[in-house]
């Protein structure tokens, strides 16, 4: 714990930050910062001084052991409701643009939200007013009579107008400007958003405008102005939360390491449940992939859990839990198997923004609220207010966020807001305090930089603190306030809200994990700083060691999951892309290797884990001077394959199994509550009895036969060229045969488009179709001529109604028979003309089967005559089919034969055709 004998040189200036600049894109790379004389290495001559850099020294090598993060716990039961997305709050057009522009440029979709309010809470909005007015609002469709018309409005007409307007608006290309929407937000349907310029539906709108003008002042239950104010405030709040939600600061995940050295059972503390208001303590066994052991202890709390903080004092873990208005503390005894015990709960009037647990004294915590109050909370003595200041410390900032943490002195606390950190003595908070960190020239900050997360690094070094801003990470030493001992631009896209420290043994690096919420980024940093047990004389100033390492995000595992149906894929995407809500890490040492386990919690309540393995130091690469000169122009940088061990490309079998199980549980959970998401529906069974729903009398003989036949063919492995029963019926012909052999229109078109000569195809097609149509017309005329006689005959049978219904049933029963997707089966020349309405194909088939003839009440003797008659004219030579030869042999079935062999017995005997 000695102070370093010499610090890295740096300039020191006071005042506001001078450096301008936005988010530094690559600012963290390529700098050594400063150098300092260090102890000469073993290989160096003593005479020469050796230098160590502030940044860019060598660190340890940690490699991801898995291709992606792996779920450690089954997905939380209950559906997760995603938090609002920008498109819910903003105008659709402006979403992309405005997200980049940030807070100032955003246009909130106020009218839509107000509309939602009216729809979701109509009772609140219009309840009693509606009851008062119901006499004057007529909801029927009929016209109003004279006396009533003077005092009653026909609402249906108004609604129709609105619908028409809506329909027109959805077609209309230009979107109303917000000012117009602001003007008359009456109800979801009454938002009069008629663009003033060039509107040709003005007359429609005028009536609505008249109505809204009349009602705008008094129609609402809640005064509109008040409601609008509240809503607008809420919208702004939601929007700022969406940009940056600081309530999650600190993270709601904690890892309680095993209490004794040899054990590998730790405890994971995390929130769960639909409202994230259940606290779970789950024992975890650290293996290759950590797995839960036993069921978790569970506590139901009365608010959404924002933060879970933990510290170990005297062998016992103390877990602090923060929700907006309540904070609680639990004690987890060191022995495994003992249940965690809740100790105390406090309630705050203003939302709490911070809760940290003392690493020094058991049962001591600090709490900050958004009103700018800092408390020291001891389970034994209660709350002690240390500071109350609604203003920020060093300059004015609108943020209400406050934070506090412990320092090397158990009675001195650090207090932070967006502008910096101060330390104050709990014994005399008014008098004894000093500035630890200031956003300003002292730390070389940029303009607009703000403190995002401070953390006490006591487990690595008793007097060091980490301060992260949206741009940089600073390492501070209490003994040298205001001057960061280390500064590094972290280059993360979103500000880091979570941080975890993994202290290293003497001679090793300390590891810090930074995690962002919205982007789920995770960054592993290493630094060297002397530890209290270090040998005398070897203390060196804090240095960043090695390059930072980006770890897997939860969303990154999506590409390793099995392919899903589109809607499930979307669901997964949404679920896995949920903002991160917590971070925890554990170092574990085996006999052979050292592993780091990083747990990440998402807002959906999922806990994912990834494992990193430490690669023991390998011999340093040969130094530059030994290497042979390379030829000019050729660089060795791109030639030889890199030797760095790559991240595995695919998940291991164990991980794949985890994914599988997790997905199964997730989708099972989703299926359980379909009624939440779908519009209310009635089951058929409630409307109809089972009998009513059932088909007439099971499958008909025809169906049965076809099924049997199908089964047989499937057994034989053959295929059905055409349905044999079809032979009985003159099949439908609604379209002329395709010119291309066998291929349907779409396939040929697609084939043509694929090969690139689609235009050619189209021209062929059009010219062909002209000829075809002409031919078809000619044929039809001829057929009509022939059919005239038959039609008159068959018309004599179509007298009874039962016949009609039976007919439709029959034709319904055999959809494959009429399926238009089988043109080659249906393309039958010589069938009755398609144009005639009565002689539909099914009809003919039905007519000819003796069964149907019988049930029409036609006597046996006449049946025969009829059949003979029909066969005679059907045998008349058909039009020569204009089919390509190869197809013609298959397609042109002697229909006369099939039509004649009507009895079912003969049908069976007949050899199958077309094979």
């Amino acid at each position: 714990m000695e102070f370093p004998a010499a610090l890295f040189p740096c300039y020191f200036g006071a005042g506001p930050p001078r450096e301008e600049g936005g988010p530094p894109l690559a600012a963290g790379w390529g700098e050594h910062g400063q150098v300092l004389e260090g102890s000469p290495g073993p290989g160096r001559p003593q005479a020469q001084p050796a230098f160590v850099p502030c940044r860019g020294g060598t660190g340890e090598t940690w490699d991801p052991a898995e291709a992606a993060a792996v779920p450690v716990l089954p997905p939380s039961a209950g559906r997760w409701i995603p938090s609002p997305a920008p498109q819910d709050i903003l105008y659709r057009n402006s979403v992309c643009r405005k997200l980049r522009a940030g807070r100032r440029g955003a246009t909130l979709d106020f009218a839509k939200q107000l509309g939602h309010f009216f729809v979701d809470h109509p009772e609140d909005a219009f309840g009693s007013m509606g009851r008062l007015l119901h006499k004057n609002f007529y909801l029927g469709n009929s016209k109003l009579k004279r006396p009533a018309r003077s005092s009653t409005i026909r609402m249906t007409a108004l609604m129709k107008d609105i619908d028409r307007l809506e329909a027109w608006r959805s077609v209309c290309c230009h979107v109303p400007c917000p000012a117009q929407l602001w003007e008359a937000p009456l109800s979801p349907h009454l938002t009069l958003s008629v663009p003033s310029r060039g509107c040709h539906r003005q007359h429609l709108a005028s009536r609505l405008r008249w109505f809204s003008h009349l009602c705008r002042d008094w129609l609402f239950e809640v005064p509109l102005g008040l409601l609008a104010d509240c809503l607008h405030e809420e919208l702004l709040l939601q929007w700022s939360d969406l940009l940056f939600d600081d309530r999650l600061t600190g993270g709601a995940l904690a890892w309680l390491p095993p209490s004794n050295v040899g054990s590998c059972t730790g405890c994971l503390v995390y929130p769960g449940g639909q409202a994230m208001n259940h606290l779970f303590f789950q024992d975890m066994v650290l293996e290759e992939l950590p797995r839960p052991r036993g069921s978790p202890s569970q506590f139901e709390l009365s608010g959404r859990i924002r933060q879970v903080a933990a510290a170990r004092v005297d062998g016992e873990d103390f877990v602090g839990v923060r929700s907006d208005y309540h904070c609680g503390v639990w004690r987890v005894p060191g022995r495994t198997g003992t249940a965690p015990a809740p100790l105390q709960v406090i309630r705050t009037d203003v939302p709490a923004s911070c809760l940290t647990v003392s690493p020094h004294l058991p049962g001591e915590l600090t709490v900050c609220t958004q009103s700018g109050t800092v408390y020291l909370w001891s389970v034994e003595t209660g709350l002690q207010q240390l500071r109350h200041d609604p203003q920020t410390m060093f300059f004015r900032d609108h943020s209400l966020w406050r934070w506090s943490d412990f320092t090397a002195h158990p009675r001195v606390l650090s207090c932070a807001d967006r502008t910096g950190l101060q330390c104050l003595d709990a014994r005399a908070p008014k008098k004894c305090h000093f500035d630890l960190f200031k956003v300003g020239e002292e730390a070389g900050c940029q303009q607009g930089e703000r403190v995002v997360l401070p953390m006490y690094l006591g487990r690595a070094h008793p007097s060091q603190h980490l301060v992260t801003t949206q741009f940089s990470t600073y390492m501070l030493d209490e003994r040298l306030p205001l001057v960061p001992v280390l500064k590094w631009a972290h280059m993360m896209q979103a500000p880091p809200l979570f941080a975890q420290l993994m202290p290293g043994d003497p001679g090793r690096t300390h590891k810090v994990l930074l995690g962002a919420s919205r982007t789920q980024e995770l960054l592993l940093l290493q630094y060297r700083g002397e530890r209290w047990s270090s040998r005398r004389g070897s203390q060196l100033a804090c240095q960043l060691a090695g390059a930072p390492l980006k770890l897997h995000s939860i969303a990154g595992c999506l590409q390793h999951l099995p392919t899903q149906l589109p809607h499930r894929h979307h669901l997964l995407q949404q679920r896995l892309g949920a903002p991160a809500a917590g971070l925890a890490a554990a170092l574990q040492e085996d006999r052979t290797c050292e592993t780091m386990l990083v747990f990440q919690l998402s807002e959906a309540g999922d806990v994912f884990c990834q494992r990193l393995t430490h690669e023991a130091a390998h011999p340093p690469a040969p130094t530059s001077r030994d290497e042979a000169p390379t030829a000019p122009g050729s660089s060795p940088l791109f030639e030889a394959p890199a030797s760095s061990p790559p991240t595995p490309a695919v998940p291991s079998p164990a991980a794949a199994l985890r994914y599988h199980r997790w997905l199964r549980a997730l989708f099972r959970g989703c299926r359980e509550h379909p009624q939440h998401s779908l519009p209310p529906s009635l089951s058929q069974r409630r409307l109809f009895t089972r009998k009513e729903l059932e088909g007439p009398t099971g499958p008909t003989a025809l169906q049965r036969q076809v099924r049997q036949w199908l089964r047989q063919v499937m057994r034989e492995g053959g295929h059905i060229q055409r349905w044999e029963p079809l032979a009985l019926q003159p099949p439908a012909l609604s379209q002329p045969p395709e010119p291309e052999g066998g291929l349907d229109l779409l396939s040929t078109r697609l084939t043509a488009a694929w090969s690139g000569d689609w235009e050619q195809w189209w021209e062929d097609r059009t010219s062909f179709s002209v000829a075809q149509r002409q031919r078809a017309l000619r044929e039809r005329r001829q057929r009509q001529k022939r059919a005239r006689g038959r039609r008159s005959l068959s018309a004599s049978f179509t007298s009874s109604l039962t016949y009609q219904s039976e007919l439709s049933e029959l034709s319904d029963a055999g959809p494959p028979l009429l399926s238009p997707e089988r043109p080659h089966v249906l393309s039958q020349e010589g069938s009755p003309p398609a144009g005639s309405p009565l002689a539909s194909p099914a009809l003919d088939e039905v007519l000819l089967s003796s069964q149907s003839l019988r049930c029409r009440g036609i006597p046996k003797e006449r049946r025969k005559t009829l059949r003979d008659y029909l066969s005679v004219w059907a045998e008349a030579p058909p039009e020569p089919p204009e089919l390509p030869g190869s197809q013609a042999s298959q397609l042109c079935i002697p229909s006369s034969q099939s039509q004649l062999s009507s009895a079912s017995q003969t049908r069976r005997k007949r050899p199958r055709m077309g094979f």
């Binding site: 714990m1 010499a6 300039y11 020191f12 936005g22 690559a26 390529g30 005297d314 040298l480 760095s644």
Partner: protein, 414 residues
């Protein structure tokens, strides 16, 4: 369409940069290097007004890649940096400085010196404030290297002085003096500017002391320690204290130097020296201060297991108890700590752990606990019980001592 082209160009530039960034963060240096070759195109149409332009990015990213790439070598690195130096005037000094750092860290002191001299002679129009600072740093680092050359010559001379004499010595001595002059001028310059200049101050004071300019050295150190424009750097006070000690200054001035260090950093490791110095003093006030100092030091988590500090406290407390004078000193110190020291230092858990890990620490702590908290204190009870069980004489004496002086506890706590 030129606007569109610009937009597309910007987009692809950003995409390329994000690929590079991604590869670097996953330590795929080879992939990053390949992407960087594409990114170089962005230099062609550099319309950006961003604070970090493409040329700076290429410098930063390229440097980082070359530092980590498995096939990079120093020659390639130097070549790359030389190109980067010509890429931007504003950044020239910064790139030079970073190049020098890289050379220094790789042990190429002479090359670094050459680069520093070259950068020092660079002139381009009017310098901005930042460039001015960078130039000062370059000069300071060159002076630092001059200082190292000087001390090398000094060592040669001192070795020679033992065995040889003659012309060789004279030339060496002249060379040494010239190094001194070069180093002193620039070192003196930089330490005037507010900042943390531990390395430079140490070297400068060493030079001055060698040539016997103690007044100047003292002034420099005082300025470094007490100028309010400088940050409250504990090392400044430590250097001053060490200097005073080397000069054989009086106890009084040493104590006053350490008193200020105590006020700034009560947890500094020199507080043990300070305490022993004060304890030996004949003045009551100083001994009182010594007690304060050691109590304050033990407040800090970093001192929790420091045997030396505990033995200092134990010795002084024992003295006071035996003499039965100034028990009120202990009482006053204890008053502000009695609500949290027992849990912080004297819990049963700690008693067990201290006993297992460090017996002498547990002995010292048990003595203090026995006096401050009485013989029924958990810590004392556990340790003395264990000690007696282990038949260590020291612990039996401890038990007797505490039992005999138990009334003291009542007076302190009362």
């Amino acid at each position: 369409s030129s606007h569109e082209h610009k937009l597309n160009f910007k987009k692809s530039k950003e995409a390329c940069l994000s690929y590079i960034q991604d590869a670097m963060l996953q330590k795929q240096w080879k992939r990053a290097a390949e992407f960087l070759t594409f990114y170089v195109e962005s230099l062609e149409k550099d319309y950006s007004r961003e604070p970090i332009g493409p040329s700076e990015m290429i410098w930063r990213i390229g440097t980082e890649i070359l530092c980590h790439h498995p096939h990079s070598n120093m020659k390639e690195f130097n070549c790359f940096i030389e190109q980067m130096k010509t890429l931007g005037v504003k950044r020239y000094l910064k790139v030079c400085l970073e190049h020098v750092f890289h050379l220094l860290c790789n042990g190429q002191i002479d090359e670094a010196y050459q680069n520093l001299s070259l950068a020092e002679s660079w002139r381009f129009g009017e310098q901005t404030a930042i460039q001015d600072k960078e130039m000062k740093l370059i000069q300071a680092y060159r002076a630092l290297l001059d200082y190292y050359s000087w001390s090398k010559q000094k060592n040669i001379l001192s070795e020679h002085g033992k065995c040889l004499d003659g012309f060789a010595d004279l030339s060496v001595e002249q060379e040494m003096h010239s190094y001194f002059r070069k180093a002193a001028v620039n070192l003196k310059e930089i330490i005037k500017i507010p900042g943390v200049w531990d390395l430079f101050v140490k070297c400068y004071v060493d030079l001055l002391e060698f040539y016997g300019d103690h007044n100047e050295a003292c002034q420099v150190l005082n300025e470094y320690a007490y100028n309010s424009k400088f940050p409250a750097n504990p090392n400044a006070h430590v250097y001053l204290y060490q200097f005073l000690k080397r000069q054989g200054e009086s106890k009084k001035s040493l104590i006053s130097a350490l008193k200020i260090l105590h006020d700034i950093v009560p947890s500094h490791e020199l507080m043990i020296d300070f305490n022993t110095m004060l304890q030996k003093s004949k003045k009551r006030k100083k001994r009182r201060l010594g007690l304060e100092v050691i109590f304050a030091a033990l407040d800090y988590a970093g001192w929790k297991e420091n045997v030396k500090a505990w033995s200092c406290l134990a010795r002084q407390v024992k003295q006071i108890v035996i003499s039965e004078k100034h028990l009120d000193w202990i009482k006053q110190e204890w008053n502000s700590r009695k609500d949290w020291w027992p849990a912080f230092h004297f819990s049963r858990y700690l008693a067990k752990r201290n006993w297992q890990e460090n017996k002498s620490l547990s002995y010292e702590k048990a003595l203090v606990a026995g006096i401050l908290l009485g013989k029924d204190c958990k810590y004392f009870k556990y340790v003395s019980h264990q000690g007696c069980k282990a038949q260590v004489k020291k612990f039996r004496m401890l038990k007797k001592f505490v039992n005999r002086h138990n009334p003291v506890y009542l007076r302190i706590s009362g």
